[in-house]
């Protein structure tokens, strides 16, 4: 059981000419293996800052991130071990894979870096990873990213995140850059993997519907502050904070739409 505590974290950026910008204001939550937290908010609300602090790409101005009660080491083997525990799937699969390297390279590197499997089993492990994200290994293994479709790339990115067998996964808007028809597939894959492996998933999104579908708990973030939190159904169906209501009103309601469609087109869905 892995528990990650995000404890009263504040992040302030100093911008030349614009003074200081508070990206995160006293944010706390606990991510544990086997559970999915949905982090919802509009652009600029601080969602990605949370991801960056979790992955130690940024350090908090105040507050602390703790893994199993221990603060995260700033460098060295400790930081490596932490990074092996927590991996991230990035928003843009067109940018998060290096255009210069093959898919095999992308998956072999983390395996070697964290010595997940012995040298002789590298190839098998890469194929196993591709299988798990439902890609045909022979079709993609020697390709380079630009030869794959967006959905395939994001699956590769997920496979890469899973390669070092993390306990926690941060998914920063993993489907927002994908074609609508591919989104559900990728999200279902994430949900299945999360369930099978007992991963703790932080699902960052601005899409309330998918957040409700995939999360156990939802945090609503506005201008760096958590304005509402609770179980997925509570937050989405019975929003308390005006900002959450606004968000909900602003997002299209799929069911309503389908209802009107089925009324006029004889129920075909």
């Amino acid at each position: 059981m892995t528990v990650l505590e995000f404890d009263h974290v504040t992040k302030v950026y100093s911008v030349r000419g614009a003074g200081q910008i508070k990206a995160l204001d006293d944010v706390s939550f606990t991510l544990e293996s086997g559970r999915t937290i949905g982090l919802v908010g509009q652009s600029g609300s601080g969602k990605s800052t949370i991801a960056k602090i979790l992955t130690q790409l940024e350090t908090p101005t105040s507050g602390q991130v703790r893994l199993d009660g221990q603060p995260i080491p700033r460098r060295g083997a400790g930081l490596r071990a932490y990074r092996q525990t927590l991996r991230m799937v990035f928003q843009d699969p067109f940018a998060s894979l290096n255009p210069y390297h093959s898919i095999r390279y992308h998956l072999e590197r983390p395996l070697r870096l964290d010595a997940v499997v012995p040298q002789a089993e590298l190839e098998d492990e890469v194929r196993r990873l591709l299988h798990r994200v439902r890609l045909e290994p022979d079709a993609v293994i020697d390709r380079r990213p630009h030869e794959l479709s967006g959905g395939q790339r994001q699956r590769v990115a997920i496979a890469r995140a899973l390669a070092s067998r993390p306990r926690l996964l941060v998914a920063d808007e993993p489907v927002s850059m994908l074609d609508v028809s591919l989104r559900l597939g990728v999200l279902n894959l994430l949900a299945d993997l999360g369930r099978d492996e007992g991963l703790g998933v932080l699902y960052i999104t601005h899409d309330l519907a998918t957040a409700r579908h995939f999360s156990d708990e939802i945090l609503v973030l506005n201008q760096g502050q958590v304005v509402e939190r609770g179980t997925a159904d509570d937050v989405i169906l019975r929003p308390q904070h005006p900002y959450t209501r606004e968000l909900r009103a602003a997002s299209p309601d799929p069911e309503k739409h389908f209802a009107s469609l089925s009324g006029s087109h004889g129920g075909a869905r």
């Binding site: 790409l57 990074r83 991230m88 990035f90 940018a95 998060s96 210069y100 870096l113 990115a157």
Partner: protein
């Protein structure tokens, strides 16, 4: 591009829309090939670059075999130091094209004291190529390392390295060269090339820094960092390959301008001096003879232009070959259309 090369004809590719066929062909062709083989293949298809490579190879072979290299003798009958009896009036070239080609004793002519211009130009080409290659390698390496460190780490290190770069840029190379020329006289081509390398890396450093500043914000760099890759690895395995286009283009420009810089320095006395010759030094030596014996001027000039052009074309081809997003192969579309 009107005559398609008949390499790898793909049957069945004629009926489909050209774009799809093109991608399919490319995908099929690069399937299972390593990065190196793909780059090589693309380079071999690049007409301009291949022509330039052939011409440059020809020049290198001609220059090294004709008068020999170091202690190894060549097949040309004269060397560049001998004063020979003048054959044609004024030492004009003996090469003639009327009724078949005959090259005579001195195809490129002779100078006023009877030296064979062909041997001189070959020797000059050897020296200039040597200087150019060393500058290209050493200056590029220094520039890449400086630029990569500055662009990747930013902050204080960036400031320090870039101020150092600015300092080097302000050094007036020509003036220092002139002073050194007076103080120490000439230098061996290798010393000269190394000295020039230490002042010509600046443009490379600035370009690489700029490229790295933008590359480090890309998500795949974050991804590598999140995976725990070391800074050195991120810089040289993840970022550098993506900057290779800029680097190659700049390196070729650097090499082309190195020939001209060497020319200027030789003229000022720091650099390759008589009796040894370089192409630049030949042009300077004979600049007064331009009106009376133009061949003394044209032949080294022609070789300088040829070498510089070839290097630029090869650089162009390399850049295209290294670009992983580049799918189109020259003349492939025509091929598909049949």
């Amino acid at each position: 591009m009107s005559t398609p090369t008949p390499t790898n004809p793909q049957p069945g590719g004629h009926a489909d829309p050209a774009e799809n066929v093109e991608n399919a062909i490319e995908l099929k062709e690069v399937e299972g090939l390593s990065q190196g083989r793909i780059v090589l293949r693309r380079f071999l298809r690049h007409r301009g670059a291949m022509t330039a490579a052939v011409v440059l190879t020809g020049i290198v072979l001609l220059a090294t075999t004709s008068i020999g290299w170091g202690p190894i003798p060549g097949w040309w009958q004269f060397n560049y130091r001998e004063n020979l009896p003048i054959v044609n009036a004024g030492g004009a070239p003996t090469m003639s094209f009327d009724g078949g080609i005959s090259i005579g004793d001195h195809p490129f002519g002779q100078d006023n004291i009877g030296k064979d211009v062909f041997a001189l130009v070959m020797r000059g080409t050897q020296q200039s190529l040597l200087v150019m290659t060393i500058i290209g390698l050493v200056a590029s390496t220094i520039g890449i390392v400086m630029g990569a460190l500055a662009g990747y780490f930013r902050g204080r290190l960036d400031n320090l390295l870039m101020r150092f770069t600015d300092m080097i840029i302000t050094i007036p190379i020509i003036m220092i060269g002139a002073i050194l020329g007076v103080l120490v006289g000439g230098a061996s081509p290798i010393t000269l090339a190394l000295a020039l390398s230490f002042v010509t890396w600046t443009s490379m450093a600035r370009l690489v820094r700029g490229e790295f500043l933008s590359l480090r914000e890309r998500e795949f760099v974050d991804a590598a960092r999140v995976a725990g890759a070391s800074s050195g690895r991120i810089m040289f395995k993840h970022m550098l390959p993506n900057a290779v286009g800029v680097i190659i283009v700049n390196a070729t420009l650097l090499m082309a301008s190195a020939i001209l810089l060497e020319t200027a320095l030789s003229y000022l006395g720091f650099g390759i001096t008589s009796p040894d010759v370089s192409l630049g030094n030949l042009i300077n030596q004979y600049q007064t003879a331009f009106a009376t014996r133009p061949w003394l001027f044209w032949w080294p000039g022609l070789f300088i232009v040829l070498i510089a052009l070839c290097v630029n074309f090869i650089g162009d081809g390399l850049r295209d070959a290294f670009d992983p997003r580049q799918r189109k192969i020259p003349s492939q579309r025509k091929m598909a259309k049949g």
